[in-house]
């Protein structure tokens, strides 16, 4: 690897040292200087988690070769405030609750700082535009906007610094807007996520992934990779000492492909090497011979007789079917004044947490295999790893590192087994950090759904019967599919008491990217269909959308779709509050937007026209340098 001498100023300190020529500024900051406050979220300049200032200009450090930064003045999140201190902007983020998982936050603070340095009087529209290159997946941005406006007011002297302080407590800490106790570490970039941790003698792991959606593995030859200088070990499914299989409900997924691959991106082998580059080069030396198999990519096709079978245990490709039956559906439809039918579909959705998967494993002095990762379920991961590694459960230890966004996507186990195996094989700490592309191709998604809906109602809007059928693509492995189907079924027909219903939810194996746990666990797919049907019915029956929901809503004592009697239910209060808060104009939902009088209130934003928001000419055109 060719080397390079760089001299630059970082956070007001002169740095002069040798580095590798291929490095980006981000790599230099993180790997050479251990300034890990700048995060890698995408490596392609799209998410902004790596934002720094170079000669006063906001730059995505993943896009800048370190050679280009030589001779420049660089400012990172670590340099904004003195150690243990926070800038006004960071304090405002703390006050408003603008930091949740915190992974995007160093970059977001840099962008906010840039915005107010460029224009200390920036209005909300300009602030939004200037934050437009930074993605946050947790907060919905709203508290971030509030923080930047608060900081602007304090910096301008319009508000005193007291507004940034903790609110005084009343009679109880329950109901108190306590500022987040862990936010300062996130706001200053001090918090170490799994990819930020360095251990002595640590190896880097890289994973060889399947290029095929469905193929038999004829052979895997790792000898050439293992012989490479700098390679400490190569692992395949052959290295699994225990029972190879994980999953939340059915243990159908091997740690690495065993005998065949079932989706593009499935792990096939992994290399642990002295450094990342060597590990990547070694992957190319692993020779895998595949025999491609026909694949099935549509869940309804996968359910047909004669379809390609993914798993021997499930000849019909059904992961799970959940039925609900309540009352007499035929009698309900017979009594109905109106019967409505519609089909709905929802897409596969990526969690897009800003922190790609990462982890470290090592074997400690007591012979305990320790896995550190941003896992949402260390309890279950430990149980599964104990079986996979064939070790007593107290010889496996899972530690949850700070989670840079999860949303269910870090609940299903994925790579922890590979890390543990490599640590056991090499007896050295091993670290694995996914790229964004790897995270997207290898991690589970929200279940896509197809719903067939039939609803029968009386003229007054009362629902008499529902037939609800949902088919969902579970992808190549079971993961959380069974639970997702169960929750979708239980919640399917919405917060309404329905006397007669017939609900079926079914998840199906295909050779697509697996679907798994994702915030709402099937609940939103099902209720999207139901809530659309409620409006379709309201229009057909000339009833206001709130009213038709009130006619059917669950109350204390109602029997749910699973025939559970509710001990409390608050939907009446919720609907009343929503109607009042939104100043809702009553009426049946016939395309009445043009005549509504409740639109465009002070509680809405202005529509956005891209690029039109900078108030006066070129941003920062006054040429003044501002630092705070």
């Amino acid at each position: 690897m060719s080397e390079l001498w760089v001299e630059l100023e970082i956070n007001n300190r002169k740095i002069a040292r040798k580095t590798q020529a291929h490095k980006r500024l981000l790599d230099f900051l993180r790997d050479d200087l251990h300034l890990t406050g700048s995060k890698e979220g995408c490596g392609a300049g799209e998410c902004g988690t790596c934002s720094v200032f170079v000669d006063g200009r906001l730059v995505k450090s993943c896009l800048m070769p370190v050679a280009k930064a030589s001779g420049c003045k660089v400012e990172t999140i670590e340099g904004l405030a003195a150690p243990g201190q926070l800038t006004t902007i960071q304090q405002a983020f703390h006050k408003t609750g603008a930091s949740q998982c915190g992974y995007c936050i160093p970059g977001m603070v840099m962008a906010a700082t840039s915005a107010l340095r460029q224009n200390p009087q920036a209005g909300i529209e300009e602030i939004k535009e200037r934050l437009g290159g930074n993605i946050c997946r947790c907060t919905g941005y709203t508290k971030i906007f509030e923080a930047v406006e608060l900081a602007r007011a304090v910096i301008a002297g319009d508000q005193s610094e007291d507004v940034l302080a903790e609110e005084p407590v009343g009679k109880s800490y329950i109901g108190h807007n306590q500022r987040r106790i862990d936010a300062p570490a996130r706001l200053s970039g001090r918090l170490k996520y799994a990819a930020d941790i360095r251990m002595t003698d640590m190896l880097q792991m890289q994973v060889l992934r399947s290029p095929h959606a469905h193929a038999r593995i004829v052979s895997i030859d790792t000898s050439e990779a293992e012989a490479m200088a700098g390679v400490a070990g190569v692992i395949t499914s052959e290295d699994v000492p225990g029972t190879d299989g994980f999953g939340v409900f059915v243990h159908d997924q091997p740690v690495m492909a065993r005998g065949k691959v079932r989706h593009v991106g499935e792990a096939v082998a992994a290399v642990a090497a002295e450094d990342l580059i060597t590990a990547r080069q070694a992957l190319a030396k692993i020779n895998v011979v595949y025999e491609e198999l026909p694949g099935v990519f549509d869940p309804e096709e996968a359910m047909q007789p004669g379809a390609v079978v993914l798993h021997d245990y499930a000849a019909d490709n059904i992961v799970k079917h959940i039925p609900l039956r309540k009352g007499d559906v035929a009698a309900g439809f017979a009594e109905a004044d109106i019967i409505l039918e519609e089909n709905f579909s929802t897409q596969q959705v990526e969690h897009a947490y800003l922190e790609p998967e990462a982890g470290i494993a090592y074997v400690d002095a007591d012979d305990v295999v320790v896995v550190i990762s941003p896992s949402q379920n260390i309890t279950h991961h430990r149980q599964m790893l104990s079986r996979i590694l064939d070790r007593p459960i107290n010889k496996v230890r899972c530690i949850m590192s700070p989670v840079g966004g999860g949303f269910g996507g870090k609940e299903d186990m994925l790579y922890q087994g590979m890390l543990a195996l490599a640590a056991m094989k090499t007896h050295r700490p091993v670290q694995l950090v996914f790229t964004r592309e790897e995270s997207i191709v290898a991690s589970a998604k929200r279940h896509p759904s197809r719903v067939r809906y039939k609803m029968g109602l009386k003229r007054n809007g009362q629902i008499l019967a529902i037939r609800f059928s949902m088919i969902s693509d579970g992808g190549a492995y079971g993961m959380s599919s069974e639970g997702v189907m169960r929750k979708a079924a239980i919640l399917s027909c919405g917060p309404y008491e329905v006397a007669n219903l017939c609900v079926d939810t079914t998840a199906v194996y295909t050779n697509n990217t697996p679907s798994g746990a994702f915030r709402t666990f099937g609940g939103m797919q099902a209720q999207f269909a139901t809530e659309s049907m409620m409006d379709i019915a309201a229009e057909a029956l000339e009833i206001d959308p709130f009213e038709i929901r009130r006619v059917n809503m669950m109350l204390p004592g109602s029997k749910t779709h699973t025939q559970q009697e509710l001990n409390s239910a608050s939907l009446d209060r919720v609907l009343e509050a929503a109607e009042a808060a939104s100043r809702w104009e009553t009426g049946a939902p016939h395309m009445r937007g043009a005549t509504r009088s409740d639109l465009g209130g002070a509680d809405t934003r202005a529509p956005c026209t891209l690029g039109a928001r900078f108030a006066g000419g070129r941003p920062g055109a006054d040429g003044k340098e501002r630092v705070w």
């Binding site: 709905f344 949402q376 169960r486 939103m524 809530e531 929503a578 808060a581 809702w584």
Partner: protein, 355 residues
């Protein structure tokens, strides 16, 4: 037809709290420590939602100290009691209640010693914000002094607890059962503007009303609602992971489109507090339920604006234009003509590239 049309829609929702159709459980340990501080240990915590802060508030309230004096040790299967997992909208409910119960036990251990020390009835002791008093007596001490007094009696004030939520499995034939003991309800209204030339939908306002049980940290609840709404908006309008014969064609954020600062509606939150009758805290949860009604509220608003029913998510500009064309035969030609006429507009010219 006007180019830009607005409309509004509403959707309601419900959700169950904690793990589904099973007995859920969580454990916690508590210790009142030197200086009137506290150590809380539990198995699983922060994934960004603010649970560490919430647990500090809950512990402070139960112990009579300040949240800043609470140290939370967590996240380690070899060092902390099981608290299962960080998901299923269960942390406030399961772990919050486990911590509450553990803290109550630790505080009672302390109160027993202080009642003896002061020769007062234990029921008259009250601790809040770092100070302990005996109501009806002129007796006060700091919690720092109280812990020292307790330890001088030979007692380390510790507590532990397990909290259970009694869900049952579903019948395999008719699905009957009681999957959760606590439910929350919500409703959201969306206001949208649809550009009938480009098919682009902008969400201008969301009114989000959610029952969360007792709101331990209202600002944190708002943060969860706002984040949920924006994930719902992304799913409603732009996000789509696509594969062709199993091969991903949206492998990065250039192809997989996420909501940014410019897509965000004004989000108006209203918190409804209907306390849970079955748990000591009375809190329920908000993490997942917040995004359930967003997409259908937006689709209902699009219908209100332009009279087309979007049944397939996401409602991309392409699908909106197609639906408008299907609704009005011959309209496709009109739209194209209109676009050509509008080409002198710089903004429209920019957008044509995107189309």
């Amino acid at each position: 037809m006007e180019r830009k049309l607005r409309g509004r829609g509403v959707a309601a929702s419900w959700y169950g709290i904690a793990r589904t159709a099973t007995i859920d459980r969580a454990g916690a340990w508590a210790e009142l420590d030197d200086g009137g501080t506290a150590k809380i240990v539990t198995g699983v915590t922060e994934i960004g939602e603010g649970i560490l802060t919430l647990l500090a508030q809950v512990a402070a309230d139960a112990l009579g100290i300040k949240p800043s004096d609470v140290t939370i040790g967590d996240n380690d299967t070899a060092r902390s009691p099981e608290a299962a997992h960080a998901g299923a909208t269960r942390q406030t409910y399961m772990i919050g209640n486990a911590v509450t119960l553990a803290c109550r036990e630790a505080k009672m251990a302390l109160f027993e010693q202080i009642a003896t020390h002061w020769s007062v009835d234990i029921d008259c002791l009250l601790a809040f914000d770092g100070e302990l008093q005996a109501r009806g007596h002129n007796l006060r001490m700091t919690m720092e002094e109280a812990v020292a007094t307790c330890k001088a009696h030979g007692v380390v004030p510790v507590g532990s607890a397990s909290f259970t939520a009694h869900g049952t499995g579903l019948d395999p034939v008719d699905g009957s059962g009681s999957p959760w003991q606590a439910y929350v309800f919500g409703a959201q209204v969306a206001e949208v503007e649809v550009d009938t030339y480009t098919g682009e939908v902008q969400v201008l306002g969301i009114w989000a009303v959610h029952d969360v049980g007792r709101a331990i940290n209202p600002r944190g609840v708002e943060g969860q609602i706002e984040g949920g709404v924006v994930q719902g908006l992304g799913q409603a309008l732009m996000e789509e992971y696509q594969t062709v014969d199993g091969h991903p064609v949206t492998p990065g954020f250039a192809k997989y489109i996420l909501p940014t600062a410019l897509d965000i509606p004004q989000i108006n939150c209203t918190i409804i507090e209907d306390p849970d009758p079955l748990s000591p805290l009375g809190a329920k949860g908000i993490g997942e339920p917040a995004l359930v009604p967003t997409a259908p509220a937006i689709m209902n608003a699009i219908y209100d604006a332009i009279g087309v029913r979007m049944t397939s998510l996401p409602a991309t500009p392409e699908k909106i234009l197609q639906a408008l064309q299907d609704k009005t035969p011959g309209r496709g030609r009109d739209v194209r003509t209109a676009r050509d006429e509008g080409a002198q507009s710089q903004e429209l010219a920019q957008r044509r590239g995107a189309l």
